[in-house]
Symmetry: D2
Subunit: 210 residues, 4 copies
């Protein structure tokens, strides 16, 4: 049976939980679409996150990888289109590092596009009543770092999904949107199913004028 690796991050930025890990770990061991999900946590640390990822890839030899991260302030499930070859940290990572305009892979290309069917995932989530959209930027912090590094390994189909704060986090950030853990778990499960089912992406619009 094929393995789908689903990664989440440890908490960062003063939070005590990270919704990406809370959601991913609830899917550990779940079987769907002829595959088994294995969930692993990554440190929110430049470099160390990719080293941990390498270990998981070597051990599990997954057929697909979906890395998941927290996007505090975003309102929906955002499926990332592209990762760029730059670390530029607005805040320090969990090891105190704050790189500025540093290449993730010195000889790597400027960017990689997700090899997941991002439009099919967004359309499928919306059809099931879960707010979702294509995102044109994964930022320049550890999330983008992991997405770029993951795609730079040129291994299995892979991509990145950002999820909102949990309600318990948003309760501490007045005005911030959130999504329930149940909906986050359902969204990730459905994203795995959709990604397994669509080798080709849908030809539907998911752009931004700027």
């Amino acid at each position: 049976m094929k393995t789908v690796l689903l990664t989440g991050f440890e908490p960062f930025g003063g939070e005590t939980v990270n919704p990406s890990w809370e959601a991913a770990r609830r899917l550990d061991g779940v079987q769907l679409g002829g595959a088994r999900i294995v969930a692993r946590q990554l440190p929110c640390v430049f470099g160390a996150a990719l080293a941990a990822l390498d270990g998981h890839l070597a051990e599990l030899r997954p057929a697909m990888v979906i890395a998941v991260g927290q996007a505090g302030g975003r309102a929906d499930i955002s499926v990332e289109r592209v990762a760029i070859n730059i670390d530029d940290a607005r805040i320090a990572d969990n090891a105190g590092q704050q790189p500025i305009d540093r290449s993730i892979a010195v000889d790597g290309p400027a960017a990689y596009f997700s090899t997941l069917p991002i439009k099919a995932i967004v359309a499928g989530l919306r059809a099931r009543g879960i707010p979702a959209s294509v995102s044109q930027t994964a930022g320049t912090f550890v999330c983008n770092h992991v997405m770029y590094g993951l795609l730079h390994r040129r291994g299995p189909r892979a991509g990145f999904i950002h999820i909102p704060y949990l309600p318990e986090q948003a309760a501490q950030h007045p005005g911030a949107p959130s999504m329930s853990l149940d909906d986050c778990v359902a969204a990730l499960k459905l994203a795995v199913e959709l990604a397994l089912a669509h080798r080709q992406d849908l030809a539907v619009e998911g752009g931004a004028t700027h």
Copy 2:
């Protein structure tokens, strides 16, 4: 046993559901804090909404009334502080009416403050991990109309709570925040409990600089 009247609205503005009614009706018949909740739906129509409310007040003689409405675009449970004596409709109501700068009660005061413990409700919701805040305006549409009319009757303790879109609605409004129905139901149940438990409000800040 005391009755708490919880009202929700019918859908409006092109939506097929209204989260206020979906949440309220799930609490119909629930007993808590020595009271029993009765849920009733109001039409999203100026005038008719208050006529329906009058019928419910006469029939039920509730000890407390919490009216609930949908605030598409808001991210949290917003507990309204004040209702103002004006109808100014940006869109038509469900009967096609679109009043402009019309008084709700010709001889009424310019506004009424909620007689619910709004700070205690916000603090209690946040303590349970539900995003919430005090709102300084209930708008000028049917929600404000019902809140003003309710308080103008000078009956039992009463107020208004706005809730976000449900996820299934936000899935059709890219970028809009939402809250799960379970969390909306939990929030309203907790709000009733907190309102019954606090005759006096908490002396904590809930203001806006503008």
Copy 3:
């Protein structure tokens, strides 16, 4: 010749300028529509602001008063519809006071509506290419305090206008909208003209659904 009193505030909240005073003082002495504008600065202090206002009213006996304040984060000229009888300070004022849920006038009504032609002002500004809208809340800080107190005196026609950060302020608050000082000055000048010209307001929509 009639006098129009235009007030602006001193800086607060860590800012070194307040756009309301920067704009108002540029109109001091300007004559238009058969009236002369007199600009005066108010302290950003609960109580003291109204005491200063009383002095200006007694001295100038204006035919109209427009109080102006800074709304950091808002993008346009917002013409306030209503002031409510409550002080609830999210931050301390310039004298260190931070009242919570205190009435501005113990025996006053819950609110006062602006006696300026708010729709005519918004329509007139937009027609001249200046972004503007009706606002349903002036907050619960010193701006609302002054607007309420001003209308509670039941003197000349009066109201309140909030203006955005200046560009130089927004440059320190990444992502915040701003408006140039020239446009703020033009907006206030036009607002005075429109208010003098319209005894009756326009019957056009300026509401909010929530």
Copy 4:
């Protein structure tokens, strides 16, 4: 004397002006930093915009190119970091084309980074009181198309700057932020000066966590 090519776009999306062209054309012929600015308008059309650009590059042989576009809804001058190799049009361009997930250059890399000193430009603008920030995405419409195509030609130093609506545009989009034409012109002039003065960018943070 060196030439700096400054391009702006024709109006699109229902607008009657485009602030990028309004600002750029006011700088046509201006000399600064040992260079002369030449402003040219580009059509808001996939393909045709790059064909027009090629003509201008062949004619002018500029030492530097800054392409400018409108970002309705953004509040500040946003200096783009990266362009990606994809056209995905949310709306039709001015020739009615609406490509979906089409490569701009079939054999091109996934992205190009701006070769302008983006951090120095942002810091310099802020120091002069003009709101500015680094942007991590130029979208997937004609702006990104031109930025990618421009950098794919591997000619002179080049990049892209997005500017907000003009106030007269925002007056038709209630709630939208704007920037005065004078400030837009000053910003672009200063950006040219800063880009000419900084061969190396500043090592200051300009990232996003997501």
